[in-house]
């Protein structure tokens, strides 16, 4: 009972830290975009966390954890709608598992669920209509994310491979799932007006770099819960090594990214520093409990290089990703997942193959589902705001509001 209490307290702290990450995402997104779209981005982020939690309570949690295995009733087998504590001899089962209660389990996983849509929000910023984005969020968070998650975390087929696919805290299950949808959405949506002009990529600087910096540090703090809580107990050794690997990878990612960008572009770009930190965090997430500190530094460092090249490659492909979501969450998510087969306790050829299978399965499923959803929205209600709305800002047209009414400097 005492152990359950300790474990449960740690898991609830982690739940709160993962919740806090939504502020980090919101800050990063508004910081790296223009002030005329601030309300729109904040609205999307608030929509994602509120509606995401409700959806997770209604369907997501049951879809994601169908208890595949001996007596599984399959998707939605036990409960069709809503959540309720499994009873044991007619009373609440406090020892739901060794780590924490059923309620903590729900809330911790629920905080994760909304993240996938948040990643897309940043990539489509400044030009996507709010209604189709909300519809996409409902379908993606409510159904795609939990079904994809059930393959591994719910004990599904990727968990039952001879050498099980391994994704500790979600390099693939959370970050790539969001990243693939971001890639599809950006492709279908097109670039912001002025991003690719006269055959050249143009810079569209973000309007508040201090807020973006705060966002990244908040995300880093949140990752203590994201990875630390994914131990699913307060196991002293595992939680502490996980936090060490997480922080070292973040630090290495940031340092290497800013070194690479300084060598390539001859300037000390803070936004690359920030994206590098996030790349390192996403990269270590798949194997945070399996790596030695040195492995973590290496994984973070590779992620840092990947970030700089991926941001430039995405620009070359004429894909417009204002916050670098595809580079951070998709590219580093794939890297981190594959790294489990290359470094640390699980490293082996068979593990690497399982990791590849996992990455491929998620790629196919996420590209297909997000394409169907977004393409259908594009052909029906349209996904892009009018040129006038885009130029004047989504805040004024989609919301009729102004983020900084007393502070207007730029007309564009």
């Amino acid at each position: 009972m005492e152990l359950l209490t300790i474990n449960n307290v740690w898991m609830m702290i982690c739940t709160a830290l993962v919740f806090f990450m939504h502020l980090g995402f919101a800050f990063l997104e508004i910081g790296l975009t223009r002030q005329k779209n601030t309300i729109n981005i904040l609205f999307k982020n608030i929509f994602i966390i509120t509606v995401g939690l409700l959806l997770y309570a209604l369907v997501g949690f049951n879809l994601m954890y169908p208890n595949w295995g001996a007596n599984s009733a399959g998707y939605l087998g036990d409960f069709i709608f809503g959540i309720s504590e499994p009873l044991k001899n007619g009373t609440l089962d406090l020892a739901y598992n060794q780590g924490y209660t059923y309620w903590t389990d729900f809330l911790f996983q629920g905080m994760f669920a909304a993240t996938a849509a948040t990643i897309v929000s940043g990539a489509v910023a400044e030009r996507m209509k709010i209604l189709p984005f909300m519809i996409f969020t409902v379908l993606y968070v409510g159904f795609v994310y939990p079904i994809a998650g059930s393959w591994k975390w719910g004990g599904g087929f990727l968990d039952q491979l001879a050498t099980p696919f391994y994704d500790f805290a979600g390099s693939t299950l959370v970050h790539s799932v969001g990243g693939w949808a971001a890639l599809v959405a950006v492709s279908l949506l097109g670039a912001r007006i002025g991003k690719f002009e006269n055959g050249k990529t143009q810079a569209i600087p973000g309007h508040n770099i201090p807020i973006a910096t705060a966002g990244v540090l908040i995300l880093w703090l949140g990752w203590f819960g994201f990875n630390g809580g994914s131990v699913l107990s307060a196991d002293p050794e595992l939680t502490s090594i996980t936090l060490v690997t997480t922080c070292l990878a973040a630090a290495a990612g940031g340092v290497v990214a800013v070194l690479a960008s300084t060598i390539m572009y001859k300037n000390l770009d803070l936004t690359m520093f920030l994206n590098g930190i996030l790349g390192g965090l996403v990269g270590i997430t798949a194997g945070a409990d399996q790596m030695s500190p040195m492995d973590a530094i290496l994984i973070g460092a590779v992620a840092g290089v990947l970030i700089v090249f991926a941001v430039s490659l995405i620009d070359k492909l004429k894909l417009d990703d204002p916050v670098g979501a595809i580079a951070v969450h998709l590219v580093c998510g794939i890297w981190g997942t594959l790294a489990v087969g290359l470094f640390g306790n699980l490293a082996s050829g068979a593990q690497f193959l399982s990791q590849l299978i996992g990455v491929a399965c998620y790629a196919v499923f996420c590209i297909a589902t997000s394409f169907i959803i977004i393409f259908t929205l594009k052909k029906t209600i349209g996904i892009r705001v009018s040129e006038k709305e885009e130029v004047e800002g989504l805040d004024a047209h989609e919301h009729g509001m102004d983020a900084y009414p007393d502070f207007r400097l730029n007309e564009y």
Binding site: T201, Q202, A203, P205, N267, D269, V308, V311
Partner: protein, 112 residues
Amino acid sequence: MKKIEAVIRKSKYRAVKEALHDVGVNFFSYWDVTGLGNEKEGHVYRGISYSTSDIQRRYISIVVNDDFEEITIKTILKSSSTGEVGDGKIFVSDIKEAYRIRTGEKGGKTLN
């Protein structure tokens, strides 16, 4: 009476203000302006170089009696110069009349 307007570097504003005070020019208006010019500012954002020709400057507008014209211009020329492109410009024009709103009096004495 003359109106002397000068577009100067923001970084030189304090030096100009103090130099003007030293020669007895104590009243003027100023505001921040953005303009276009020969100067380009180079920037890099997420690996993309871009330059902006939007130049931030401070605009000061001084109305003085004729006998102050020369010293005011000299003072601004001396205190605002760095010798590099982008130091700014001075414009001089005639002022037909000046009134002090509080008393209704007019002429050169309203400028003190």
